[in-house]
């Protein structure tokens, strides 16, 4: 398995909708690499709303997202290529 590149964006301090817009801008900028499965976009956020809005938007765009709670109390969203069923 080829190791994937990771792009980490820390948007702590931003709340929705700014956090969503920032996430969307990063997704848009890297959509090709993410869709091809070459890149994982990791977004670190402390907004609980973003836990819903960003994954919903990613799913609508055909991407997969996973939420991981970090020990510091904030979250990391991993946006990846959709898993084909």
């Amino acid at each position: 398995m080829i190791p994937l590149d990771e792009l980490v964006r820390d948007i702590r301090g931003k709340v929705c909708p700014s956090s969503l817009l920032v996430a969307l801008r990063n997704i848009n900028e890297n959509i090709e690499a993410i869709s091809q499965g070459k890149l994982i976009l990791k977004i670190i956020t402390d907004s609980r709303d973003a836990m819903v809005t960003i994954p919903n938007a990613a799913r609508n765009m055909g991407l997969e997202s996973q939420v991981e709670k970090l020990p510091e109390g904030h979250y990391m969203l991993s946006i990846t290529k959709d898993i084909e069923v």
Binding site: C16, S18, L20, L21, N28, I31, D49, V52, A57, G62
Partner: protein, 570 residues
């Protein structure tokens, strides 16, 4: 910007300044409209995205324009639309796949709305469910019709209706063996719900189980018949007195009946899967089974086994090879008690040997004296007469032996001697028997003492005469020194007992017990007394043929008494 400040630093005229101010206000107003427009559109797009609106304090106007949220969301929407197109394509394919399955599935499938109206149906529904409906002949499209009117025609109750069950429970339901015409269906109902979890459709799948049901019934019948046959075979195996061992092509035990278990002092549980020779320690049987496995066994083999009661029995092991398409599929080995057959063979051999011996002695005398008569020309008339008397006597003896042998042969073969019972007075019968002995038995005194006169017996006259003659002959022969021979008769209960008392050589108890066996002679060493050893055997048979009994009462050293009982003529 204040007016004073403007007039202090700018060389513009008042008019120019006023114009610039107006232009500035206009630009500001336009800019505000633009920003408001951007905010309004951004908020609308954000609402579509499912999030809250942008607050002015979160992004000021300048940052808003620079951040370009419309551009961001629009670009995301482009991606969303592309994804939707992709998803739509997938859905379209999935729909086609489902339609193909729907049409090709072996079951009849109906999609109904909650009011039982048919939304769609597959081809099998037409052939299996709709084809027999005469009321709707000519109708090809059943969409919109009620399944209750078309299929069940109100014959199915609410509690049997799978559609109703699904509507009531909201879950999958089924009805097993629903009868429709001459066929049977397992009907499965599946709810289809919308995003709000509201039931919108019910899919009914009709699986035709008629053949399965018929096959199942046939299988059940076959199973019952097989079980009955198995019970019969089990019963047969259990009831078989012969031992039976079934083994596979490799000689491993697969079945053994109770008789075999008892014979081998083992059980099927212990022997199953074991090689045939390993299930027994009986040397001859083990050898036979080993040879069988090597394919070089004789057809059968005898072996002896001591039973728990101490008796040694002879068994025969014989095997049949089970063949299928000329391949060995197994072996059936029978263990049969052949003790009686072997005993019969032994007795037969002994009978032939003894009979030959019995015939040879008088025959030798006949031949010897006949030769003397033929070859000697100088014999006196008296000597010739003696020789001829001897030949005649020996010929009579031979005749008696042959007659006895024939009687015994008939008895042994199970052919009853003809017994014709009729009223016969006992006293004249005894006199008739005694007549011959009175002529030759000059050394003996024959006394008759019958307690009752004129007693009638229900007997075969000739058979009982033969009995009397045999018994009297023995009494005379075994009393070589002469003496009194008494014949006593008495009625006891409902039979007549006749006793012949001699004072001859006598017998031991053991000899008395064996005296009625074939060819048994109590004093065989005494060659002066001729006899075949068959007389008493015939006596017993004749007496027992009259439902009578015969027994010997030995009086050690003082002769014997033979008693017989015979039926009275009542």
């Amino acid at each position: 910007m204040s007016q004073n400040a403007t007039s202090k630093h700018s060389p513009c005229t008042e008019l120019e300044y006023a114009a610039l101010l107006a232009e500035n206000r206009l630009l500001q107003s336009k800019n505000k409209h633009l920003v408001d427009y951007v905010r309004e559109k951004t908020n609308k797009l954000l609402q579509v995205m499912g999030t809250i609106v942008l607050k002015p304090e979160e992004l000021d106007d300048a940052t808003l324009i620079e951040f370009d949220p419309i551009g961001i969301v629009t670009e995301s929407f482009t991606q969303i639309l592309a994804n939707l197109r992709k998803t739509n394509l997938k859905l379209q394919l999935a729909h086609q796949e489902i339609q193909a399955i729907f049409d090709s599935v072996g079951s009849a499938v109906l999609v109904l709305d909650p009011e039982r109206k048919i939304i769609s149906f597959n081809e099998n529904s037409r052939t299996k469910l709709f084809s027999g409906i005469t009321d709707f002949s000519g109708i090809t499209d059943f969409s919109g019709k009620s399944c209750r009117e078309i299929i069940c025609q109100h014959r199915t109750t609410e509690s049997q209706c799978v559609h109703s069950m699904v509507i009531a429970s909201g879950h999958s339901e089924k009805c097993i063996g629903w009868e429709f015409g001459d066929r049977y269906y397992d009907v499965i109902g599946q709810p289809i719900k919308n995003a709000e979890d509201i039931l919108t459709h019910v899919v009914l799948v009709y699986n035709d189980v008629t053949e399965h049901r018929r096959n199942s019934h046939a299988l059940q019948r076959a199973l019952v018949e097989t079980m009955e046959a198995k019970d019969q075979v089990d019963g047969l195996l259990k009831s078989m007195s012969d031992g039976l061992i079934a083994s596979d092509a490799w000689g491993r035990v697969v079945l053994m009946n109770a008789a075999a278990e008892q014979l081998l002092n083992s059980n099927l549980e212990l022997c199953i899967g074991q090689s045939l020779p390993d299930i027994t320690a009986i040397p001859m049987l083990k050898d036979y089974l080993e040879m069988l496995m090597l394919g070089s066994a004789d057809h059968s083999a005898d072996f002896e086994l001591e039973r728990s009661d101490g008796k040694v029995k002879t068994y025969q092991a014989r095997s049949s090879v089970l063949l299928k398409n000329e391949n060995v599929k197994g072996y059936i080995t029978f263990l049969q008690d052949v003790s009686r057959e072997r005993e019969i063979d032994r007795v037969k051999d002994e009978f032939l040997s003894t009979a030959a011996h019995q015939l040879r002695t008088p025959l030798a005398s006949v031949i010897g004296y006949s030769e003397l008569i033929m070859e000697s020309e100088s014999l006196t008339a008296a000597t010739l007469n003696d020789y001829i008397s001897i030949v005649y006597s020996k010929a009579e003896q031979l005749s008696e032996i042959v007659n006895n042998l024939l009687d015994i042969s008939r008895i042994e073969a199970g052919h009853d001697l003809m017994i014709c019972q009729a009223p016969v007075e006992v006293e004249p019968l005894i006199d008739e028997a005694l007549a011959g002995f009175r002529k030759i038995g000059h050394k003996h005194t024959l006394e008759v003492n019958l307690q009752q006169k004129g007693v009638l017996l229900n007997v075969d006259r000739f058979a009982i005469l033969q009995v009397f003659e045999n018994l009297l002959s023995n009494a005379v022969k075994y009393s070589p020194n002469g003496g009194i021979i008494k014949i006593e008769g008495v009625i006891l209960d409902n039979y007549y007992q006749l006793s012949i008392v001699d004072h001859g050589l006598g017998m031991t108890d053991k000899q008395a017990a064996q005296a009625f066996d074939k060819f048994y002679r109590a004093n065989a060493s005494n060659t002066a007394i001729s006899g075949s050893g068959l007389g008493l055997t015939i006596v017993r048979y004749l007496v027992e043929s009259h439902s009578g009994k015969v027994w010997i009462e030995p009086r050690s050293g003082a002769g014997i008494t033979i008693h017989i009982t015979l039926p009275l003529c009542l």
